[in-house]
Each structure stands twice: as C-alpha cells, then as structure tokens.
Subunit: 191 residues, 4 copies
Amino acid sequence: MAVKPHKAMRKPRADSVRNRERLLAAAADVFRTGGAEASLEAVARRAGVGIGTLYRHFPTRDALFEAVYRREVEQLSELAEALALADDPVVALREWLRAGIRLVATKRGALKALALAVDSSSDVYAFSQANLTRAAGLLLQRAMAAKRIRDDVTADDLLHVLIGISLMGKETGSEEKVSRLVDIFVDGLLE
Amino acid sequence: MAVKPHKAMRKPRADSVRNRERLLAAAADVFRTGGAEASLEAVARRAGVGIGTLYRHFPTRDALFEAVYRREVEQLSELAEALALADDPVVALREWLRAGIRLVATKRGALKALALAVDSSSDVYAFSQANLTRAAGLLLQRAMAAKRIRDDVTADDLLHVLIGISLMGKETGSEEKVSRLVDIFVDGLLE
Amino acid sequence: MAVKPHKAMRKPRADSVRNRERLLAAAADVFRTGGAEASLEAVARRAGVGIGTLYRHFPTRDALFEAVYRREVEQLSELAEALALADDPVVALREWLRAGIRLVATKRGALKALALAVDSSSDVYAFSQANLTRAAGLLLQRAMAAKRIRDDVTADDLLHVLIGISLMGKETGSEEKVSRLVDIFVDGLLE
Amino acid sequence: MAVKPHKAMRKPRADSVRNRERLLAAAADVFRTGGAEASLEAVARRAGVGIGTLYRHFPTRDALFEAVYRREVEQLSELAEALALADDPVVALREWLRAGIRLVATKRGALKALALAVDSSSDVYAFSQANLTRAAGLLLQRAMAAKRIRDDVTADDLLHVLIGISLMGKETGSEEKVSRLVDIFVDGLLE
DNA sequence: GATGAATGAGGTTTCATTCAT
DNA sequence: GATGAATGAAACCTCATTCAT
C-alpha cells in the first residue's frame, strides 16, 4: 500500500480537469492563429473560462506554453524511438528531420517553444530539452555506430537544424525546398 | 546641366541628419537586444531623441525596420561581390555564409527583416529580396560553373540556409557550433 | 415562473457597482467643467479608479457619454410628467424650460449629448430622442388643447429652444438673462 | 507729416502679406470642414506654408481664430447698419437675425468664435464683442424708440439668441424650423 | 521672414497580473 | 476552484509649441 503523504493529493475536481484540457486546446489554437504573443485573455476566452482560471492552472505564460508544447515534444521523441528500429540509420535520420519539420509546420506556436527549449536556460523547458536531446541522440548514435556519418555532430546540432529549417519553411509551397535542404544537410553529414 | 527637382531639396539640417543616424543605430541595437517587437519608445530613448522625432523620420515601424535592415542587406551583398573575386568558389561560399551569419548575429533585428525579405511579399522588401538573391546567386554560379557543387541549389535556398542557421545561432558561445553547421551544409553541397 | 436568461446573470460585484456609479458621477463632473472632449483619464482619475476600469465599464467614449446623459434625459422627462399635472399649462411650459435649462446648466456635459440626441441620427441616442420628444409633446399638447398657444410649434422646436438657450447660458450669472429669454420665447408662443 | 515712431513700421514683405492671406483662407476652410479643433498643422499645410510661418503670423490659436472670424463679424455689423435704414424696425430685426443665422450656417468655424466673443472674457475678442454689441444695439434701439418692442431686452440677449438658434440649426433641412423659431422669438419681443 | 525639425506632454488603448466575490 | 473586475504600466500616436537654419 502506498505511503500517504501528510497532505493527501486529492482527486482533482472534474471541472478542473476539463478546464485544463480546454485551456490547452484553446492555447494551441490561439498560438497557432495569432502567434506566440497572443493575449492570454484570448486564450481564456476561447477556452470559455475566466482569465483567473487560466492563471490558476498556468501561473505564467511560459508554463502554459510549455504544457502546450510538451505534446509536440512527446510526439517527436516517440517518433525517434520508432525510427530507431528502422534498417537504415541515415534514412531514419532524414525521416525524422522531415517528420519533425512537418509536425512543427502544422503547429505554429510550437516553433517558438521548440526554439526556447533548445536555446533558453529557463528550467521550465528542462523536460523538453532533455526529451528532445535524447531523441535526437538516439538517432545520431545509431548512425555513428554504423560509421555512416561524421562523428563531430551533436544532438544539439541536429535540433538546431530542425528548428532552423522549420523557421525557414514558413513560406507557401516550401515543402519541396525544405526537403532539398534536409537532403543537403544530411548529405553533409555523411562520412 | 544637372537635373533639378521641381521643388529644390534644401540642405537638410545638421541635427536632422545626426538624429536619423542615431535612430538607425539605436534601432539596430534595440531590435538586436529586444527582438523586432521592441518598443519604438525604447528606440527613441536610446537614440536620445524625442519620440516625435522618431515618428517624423520613420512614420511607421516598418519604415524604420526597412531602413535599418537595408544596411545589413547592403553589407551582405557587397561582401558577396568582394568574395566573388576569391580563388576558390567553395571557400568563398563558406566564407560568405559565415560572415553573413556573423553579421546577422551582431544585429539581431536584421534577422527578422532578412526572413521577411525572403518570405514575405511585402514590397517594402522587394529591394532587399532582389539584392540578396543577386548576391547569393553570384557565389553559387561561380561554384557551379567550376563544377564544384551540385546544381540543384538555388540562391533562394542559400538565403534560407543563412537565415536558418542564423536563427539557430542565438545562444551565447554558439560560434563554434554555427561554424560546424555551415561546414556540414557546404559539405552537403559538394558534388 | 420568472423568465431566466440562458446564462444566469450573476450578482454584480459590490465594487463594480460602486465604480460604475463613481464613473458616471465623475464623468458628469468632468464633462461639465471641461466640455465633452475632456480626457477619459481625467474622468478615471476623478472617479478614483484606474483607467482600465473605465474602459471595462464603458468601452468607448460614446458609451460613457450616453450613460451619463441618459440620466439627464430621464430627469427631464420625469419633470415633464410632473408638470403636466399643474393647473396652468403655460406656466408648466415655462417652468419646464427653466428647470430644463437649470438642469443642463449644472451638467454641462449633457448639453452636447442633448444636442446630439436631437440632431444626430446615431441610434445610441434614439432612446433619448424618443423620450424627450414625448416629454415636450406632453406639455405642448396640453397648452394647445387649452388654446393658449399657437399651434404650429412642435415638440422638436421646443427641444431646440431648450438646447439653444442652454447653449447660450454658459456664462456666469446668466441666471437672470436666461430667465428673460425663456419669457420672451414663451411670450412668442402665446396665441 | 505724421510722427515717426522710433522703430519705424516698415512696409511688410510681399510674401508675408500673401502668406497671411493664404493662412486666413486656409484656416476658414479647415475650420469649416474639420471643426474648430482642427490641427494648426493642417491649416499650415493647406495654406502651403510652414507651421513656423503660421505661428509668426498668429501666435496663438485664438489669434488666428479671431482673425478669421473678424470678417464674419464685420459682415454682420455692416448688415446691421444697412438694415437700420429700413422702414420697419421689427422687420429689420427679424431680417438681421435670419441673415446672421444664414451667415454663420455657411461658416462652421465662425460659430464657436461667435460664442466665444460673447461668452469669454478673453480680450482677443474685445473687438468682436464691441462690434457685435454695437450692431445689435443699433437695431434694438430703433425698435424700442418706435415703441414696437419691450424695453427689457439687451443687445447681449439678441446675440445670445442668434448664437443659440445657430447652434441648433446644424441639422439638415432646418431652414424652415429656424425661421419659425426666429418668428416666435421676435413675436415674444413685441410690445 | 520662412521653413520644417525637435520635443514632450498627453490622449487612447491594451493586457498581464492581482484580488474580491 | 472559478470568475471576471480592478489596476496600472506601457505602448502607440498626435499635436502645440519652440528653435536651428
């Protein structure tokens, strides 16, 4: 039987849970449409809750941001794990970059969050930082172990390239250009 | 006989010229530190002029932005012309990217402008668009003519890479990482 | 069974009500002293609330204006109803004009609103338009029915006179002059 | 031979005179279109001169205002003089009010100036104050001397009525209503 | 005298954040 | 817990006015 802490973590109220979900969905929406500087009131409004409720759930803008973006991070790292099982580690790498870019492309808000996770020292992003680095590292190590790519590249580099190319890919019809850039970059990685 | 405009352009006041310069410098500074959404009042403050003066010189944020960023563009394209004279076109390419990134790194404001110039259709940026494409094209053509690099890369791609890597390089001490990324990318370009 | 709106109107916060009152009082004051273009910040300041609070209650200057002025209109039309019970309809008319002018004189802000209500086609003022016309018509009809005054005067005319004389009476110590003008005008009305 | 003051009043420069005229015309225009609070820069712009020039000619807004409006005042008082020669002093009175109202109706800016001249104590308006009072007095005295109207009305009252009815007459199609109001008022004046 | 640049006060408006209910 | 009102800092922008040329 589990030890019970002095102050029991009580089951959260049903509406509290629902509100949290709504806020996350609303935030994803609003950040996607209005960019990462969109007003928190807009988020609350769209979620159909009071601004106070937003603040209770996410005391800072960053906290909300992180929560929204944690989902993307998780998808990205699950993808890495899946691809790590592929036959060709270079193909896996290429695929991961492409998929990652595609993912980010559909969620505008995520981009800045991604960038923050890599760049910033804010510990709100520690989780994502770790998670993403692990995912990228996984793929790199496999490729390096197979002596297929140069060994002076770090997981961090890979993340930066992902972000960089994503940042570029905001144009219309950039799909094919992005693809070419990924190719060039991966070609540059080859031994 | 010199062409004379209908209403002769009177000699600009000394302080007007000085203020314009100061504003541009201040804007470059402020945009670098605070991003492209930094407040115009901060710019005026740093330039040591009244907010009204800023507005007289640059009636909209975009006007200021464009003016600041025209300088970077000009520097960048002059650099391309200089490097076009170098012996090794691949080295020239590498150098241009590095220098470009370094340039942008010191003037963060320019980055967004750069991105806009490439991405957006706003005709404020038509000048830069043209200018930069020409510069990048110059270097690419030389390298392609020498059969040193693959021929499916466009000037536009190069610009995107420049922007992309710049966007990544916002951390401190990224100098060496950026350098590595440029290398990887240029390696990918080689035939 | 009482009609219940879909989303029940929760009891307003005590301070909210208080602030609304204060704002209306302050606005009346400030508009009276400073005219209708007085700054909204001045209104907030005098009400002792933050400027944001003013904006929450009255999102536009017109909204505030209308709210302030609705009171005057109501007072004015209640007065007409009271006077309609007087013995002499001409005396009632005279009294109403005098009282109306006095009322307006103490609330200068209302003056422009009054003018707007009669002149403009803005539907914000439709309510007042109707209300005032009804009030003036009440008095006129009684006097006409008694064959005491000429019958080519309309409620609208009466309102215009009220406004006109009020507009004149901005000087200090005009009490007696205004009184004389009302007399002259009412004399002109007599059959 | 005239005494020559120590500092001779030299003949004004031709362009100075021209600018003054232009400014007056521009101001009349701008005040009519944009109301009395229109910006002085707009006036200068329309006159095609620098803002500094405007200030040299009219050091305060009031000074400009007064200069523009002096013309109307003069017309109004000339009219009074002309009408003083008419046979029927009551008709003259009626006519003067009507004409005055018509005059003001075509020059929006003038209205406020008129009101100021009567209401304010600003000595910029002393000239107009005097001029108008004289004009109104002329007509009143004739009518009183002929025992046609009550004797407790002052020139000041008459001016107020003129202003008041003008202020009312901003609606469209008010021509006929204004006319009726003037009639009523003049009827009220009759002995 | 004419010009138009410089200045800054002051108005408007928006939001992040706190707090009363 | 949820709600939304209150708050004020801060941005934007527009002139009136002064002053350098």
